[in-house]
């Protein structure tokens, strides 16, 4: 692109590198392939899971007993989940050992009245309960009262093995152990009168009320696990009357207590053999309640394995994060339905599966970090028609994603190496190419000097390369050789011309002399002589200019004082010219290395030029100044300014600033002095002499616009 006088644009190397960026498409393609592969693998995993689910379903085929009777008569009122507990509970009225289960506690009662939360769990044959009661005015049991309903207490309603309703009351005398009594129907007196020691518990009075933790043997309950809990609140210390009774079930009259939702231990036993490390098996009944679970989803099987030696996994490399992002893997901890704490699942695809068809679904985990593939298959009854439950097999895609992320890492690594290698090769290749082109450019420029004269002995490097640059080099070399021959021919012209012209010139001269003897009238003879003189002078100057460089290099340069030479020269010239010449020298001596006769010739040319263009009454001003290393000799004439466009050609051979008509003016013909000027040789010769002396000749219009300055600069000899 050309902007102004500068050509702006990319060099070869960046261009090639830019073109090379298309290589980046390779890792992208790899990523696309991997994504397709991932899809395929996940599909495969889903199918495999479905098959597994179907297998498990077959295993449980017809086992209606595992989904016992409780599924038949459904009480719409809240079922209370009975969470499987991993260990024994220490009865201390603190909720720590319930761990995260405490989030799942159920609340009963209302804000205005007494309120309590309930959490039930089972470990082995004991049912544990945690009840937290909000009660600003706790009234403790008074040992003096026989009746147990004169203080705050908790009532347990349950049905024993024989479906006979039983009542137990938990009471306390402040923080500490609780006492449990089997009660009469009115909840006033304990029937045996002694505490039921198999029910144990602890109470802890808190700021807002009290917390009760109790243990109840499982064999107190009927197989359907019916249990109701109520909290009785006595407000007034004096009256000691139960003011409010908050129940976990609607009405005692119906005899329907809450039912505890219990896992089927037998099913879990069956499943435990099928459990895998990275998948979860859920058995759900028709109400989508969890009957049994096995296995546990883990965040990242791989990560876990390497966790031991990568304890500081928090500060992971950025690259790993990037790879994880690309593959969709997350190493964040997995947070999903907890098999131990979830008592029912209600998802659309599960409902669909109840109609009798296996299904596959994909979903994010609850925390949104992981992708889960879920396969569900119905469990049928013996009649093969009705569905008695569902098998849900869930597995994360982490294994696949891990595989993919490893592949991505590998691809990234290979791509990186490949890109680096290709970039290097491109860089080396292009810099070599650039270097060769540059070298060719330098050689080409070197082949001729500023004036376009061919230099001898230009050797082109890289002449034997077989490629296009080699071709170009050869072409340029041939072209320059041809140009050189042509230039030599041109240079030889003046000399050849002189040789050729001298013979006829001699004929004319000698003939003219004979004529002079015979003819008395000399006017025409004189003019003929002058004409001849001029022709001879022109021929002379031409050949002199042409062979000037040769003559110059034949001269040895000697150390000479330019100030002295100039002073001497100007003194002599002042006597010969009518024109006023002013000289100003700044230093006593300026020693330069030079050839005196050629410097004299240079002065001749510059002075002639200055006088020629100087108005008759204005002086030519010559100034010699010097700096530390150079001296400057300037000739100022007060003639017309030189047009800007002409400066370029001023010092070219045959460049003349005169109008062609002026040349033929008789007065100038007679002078014979300015022959060089008319041919445009003077300044050319002056410049060549300057260059031979390691200097330069510059022309410029004077600052005051009233003249032209020619300045010679030459290095000083020290």
């Amino acid at each position: 692109m050309k902007i102004g006088r500068k050509i702006i644009g990319l060099k070869l190397t960046p261009k090639l590198l830019l073109a090379g960026t298309t290589l980046l498409i390779i890792p992208w393609l790899g990523l696309q392939t991997l994504n397709a592969m991932q899809q395929f693998l996940i599909d495969g995993q889903a199918q495999a899971q479905l098959l597994s689910a179907r297998g498990i379903a077959t295993l449980l085929h017809g086992r209606k007993d595992l989904f016992d009777e409780q599924s038949d008569n459904i009480n719409s009122y809240a079922d209370i989940p009975l969470y499987p507990l991993s260990g024994r509970i220490l009865l201390d009225a603190y909720s720590e050992d319930w761990q995260s289960l405490s989030e799942n506690r159920l609340s009963f009662g209302s804000q205005e009245l007494t309120q309590f939360s309930l959490l039930l769990g089972q470990a082995d044959d004991t049912i544990y309960g945690l009840i937290e009661v909000t009660d600003k005015t706790p009234v403790y049991r008074h040992p003096a009262y026989l009746r147990l309903d004169h203080s705050d207490h908790i009532r347990l309603y349950l049905k024993d093995k024989d479906s006979i309703e039983q009542r137990y009351l938990l009471t306390f005398e402040g923080s500490g152990r609780i006492s449990a009594f089997k009660m009469d129907e009115a909840w006033q007196l304990a029937t045996p009168g002694t505490p039921q020691y198999r029910i144990q518990g602890q109470v802890r009075i808190t700021k807002n009320g009290y917390v009760v933790e109790f243990a109840l043997p499982a064999d107190f309950l009927d197989p359907s696990h019916h249990l109701g809990i109520a909290v009785a609140d006595v407000v007034d210390q004096g009256e000691r009357v139960v003011e409010t009774l908050v129940r976990s079930f609607p009405s005692i009259a119906q005899g329907q207590y809450n039912r505890l939702i219990v896992r089927s231990p037998e099913t879990e036993r069956i499943l435990s053999g099928l459990a895998q490390t990275d998948s979860e098996i859920w058995i759900l009944d028709k109400q989508l309640r969890v009957r049994a679970t096995a296995g546990k989803l883990l965040a990242n099987v791989d990560q876990l394995a390497s966790d031991e030696n990568a304890s500081d996994s928090e500060d992971k490399a950025l690259s790993t994060l990037l790879v994880d992002w690309l593959s969709g893997t997350s190493s964040a901890p997995l947070n999903d339905f907890n098999p131990a704490q979830t008592h029912s699942r209600d998802e659309l695809f599960l409902r669909n599966a109840l109609s009798g068809k296996g299904e596959v679904s994909r979903r994010s985990t609850l925390d949104g970090n992981h992708l889960i593939v879920a396969a569900v298959h119905p469990i049928r009854d013996i009649d093969r028609q009705s569905v008695i439950g569902l098998v849900l097999l869930e597995q994360t895609t982490d294994a696949i994603l891990n595989l993919q992320s490893r592949s991505i890492q590998r691809i990234a690594l290979f791509s990186l190496f490949g890109l680096i290698a290709i970039t290097l090769v491109v860089l080396i290749f292009s810099s070599r190419l650039t270097w060769r082109i540059k070298r060719l450019g330098i050689d080409t420029v070197k082949a001729s000097d500023d004036q376009g004269r061919m230099q001898q002995k230009t050797e082109f490097r890289g002449l034997y390369a077989a490629d296009e640059i080699g071709d170009l080099t050869r072409h340029i070399e041939q072209l320059l050789a041809r140009l050189d021959r042509y230039q030599q021919f041109l240079v030889a012209i003046p000399r050849t011309l002189r040789h050729e012209i001298n013979n006829p010139l001699n004929t004319v001269t000698t003939s003219l002399e004979h004529l002079e003897d015979q003819v008395s009238e000399s006017t025409y003879l004189d003019s003929a002589h002058r004409g001849l003189q001029r022709i001879a002078a022109i021929i002379n100057s031409l050949s002199e200019a042409a062979s000037l460089e040769e003559a110059l290099s034949a001269d040895t340069l000697v150390k000479l004082d330019l100030t002295h030479l100039l002073t001497c020269y100007v003194e002599n010239q002042k006597r010969q010219h009518n024109h006023e010449i002013k000289l100003q020298t700044s230093s006593q001596q300026s020693w330069v290395l030079g050839s005196d006769i050629h410097i004299e010739q240079l002065l001749d040319k510059l002075l002639d030029n200055a006088i020629d263009f100087s108005p008759p009454d204005s002086p030519v001003e010559i100034t010699l100044t010097a700096t530390k290393n150079h001296c400057f000799l300037s000739f100022l004439n007060h003639g017309p300014a030189i047009p800007e466009a002409e400066f370029k050609n001023l010092f070219q051979l045959f460049h003349s600033r005169r109008e062609s008509t002026q040349i033929t003016q008789p007065s100038e013909l007679r002078s014979g002095q300015s022959n060089d000027q008319h041919l445009g040789l003077g300044l050319y010769i002056a410049r060549v002499i300057c260059e031979r002396h390691g200097g330069d000749l510059v022309a410029e219009n004077s600052a005051s616009e009233d003249g032209v300055v020619f300045t010679v600069s030459m290095p000083l000899a020290h």
């Binding site: 000399r495 050729e500 013979n503 010139l505 004929t507 001269t509 003897d517 002599n572 006769i597």
Partner: protein, 235 residues
């Protein structure tokens, strides 16, 4: 007895002009157009002086060849080259062959006659001493100059100068201590077309010849912008 001058020039017009001019001066002229006829003619009648062109017809160096042959048989024969080949290299090879003078074309017939006469006189002085009265040599410091014999010596060593160079130097030492303008020097060369540059070249050559004998030679001084000056070495 008039001198016989042989002129070898392939151009008929120029040959005719030379002949007329020389005959007008009272010389006997034998003119030849090519090398073979010149060789035969001069073998039959040995001339007193030969004017040679270098290029004869198609023979580029015929003049040089003739010169070589002639001087082999007649070592004292003055040979004057008159040629359009004015390159310094040709001049040097011509003079090295033993030619007495080398003149570029175009030439003035008057100057030619003067040169021919001066060469003949030189021949007389050099090879027939006593027959003509010779002026005694002039002494100027270390320089000894004998104008008629065109002999010059510096510190008693002889210098080999061309006719033109001798004339320039003789003119210069005629007025020792005084600057001599280019114009005066030009006239002294008795050549048709002379420029400052020609004078400078000659002066350079003369100086070089002096410095071969005497490293410290510094008697010829440039008078920049004017001409040259001979400065006596003793002063």
């Amino acid at each position: 007895m008039p001198y016989t001058i042989a002129i070898v020039e392939d151009d008929a017009d120029q040959r005719h002009n030379y002949c007329t001019a020389m005959e007008n001066k009272g010389f006997v002229v034998n003119a030849y157009a090519d090398r073979l006829s010149a060789q035969q003619g001069m073998a039959a009648h040995t001339p007193d002086l030969v004017i040679l062109d270098i290029m004869l017809g198609h023979e580029v160096d015929a003049g040089f060849q003739l010169c070589r042959d002639l001087l082999a048989s007649h070592p004292h024969l003055p040979v004057l080259f008159l040629t359009e080949r004015i390159d310094e290299i040709d001049q040097i090879s011509g003079l090295r062959l033993g030619a007495w003078d080398y003149q570029p074309k175009p030439i003035s017939l008057a100057y030619l006659a003067e040169r021919v006469a001066s060469l003949l006189r030189l021949k007389e002085v050099r090879f027939n001493p006593g027959q003509s009265d010779t002026k005694p040599s002039k002494q100027l410091g270390d320089l000894s100059i004998q104008e008629d014999a065109m002999l010059i010596s510096w510190q008693e060593q002889a210098l080999e100068l061309t006719v033109t160079e001798f004339r320039l130097l003789a003119r210069l030492v005629r007025t020792p201590g005084h600057a001599l303008a280019y114009e005066a020097l030009m006239q002294a060369t008795i050549q048709q077309y002379v420029t400052n540059n020609t004078i400078n070249t000659h002066m350079r050559n003369i100086r070089r010849k002096f410095t071969i004998i005497d490293q410290g030679f510094d008697c010829i001084r440039n008078e920049y912008g004017f001409g040259y000056r001979w400065v006596d070495s003793n002063k």
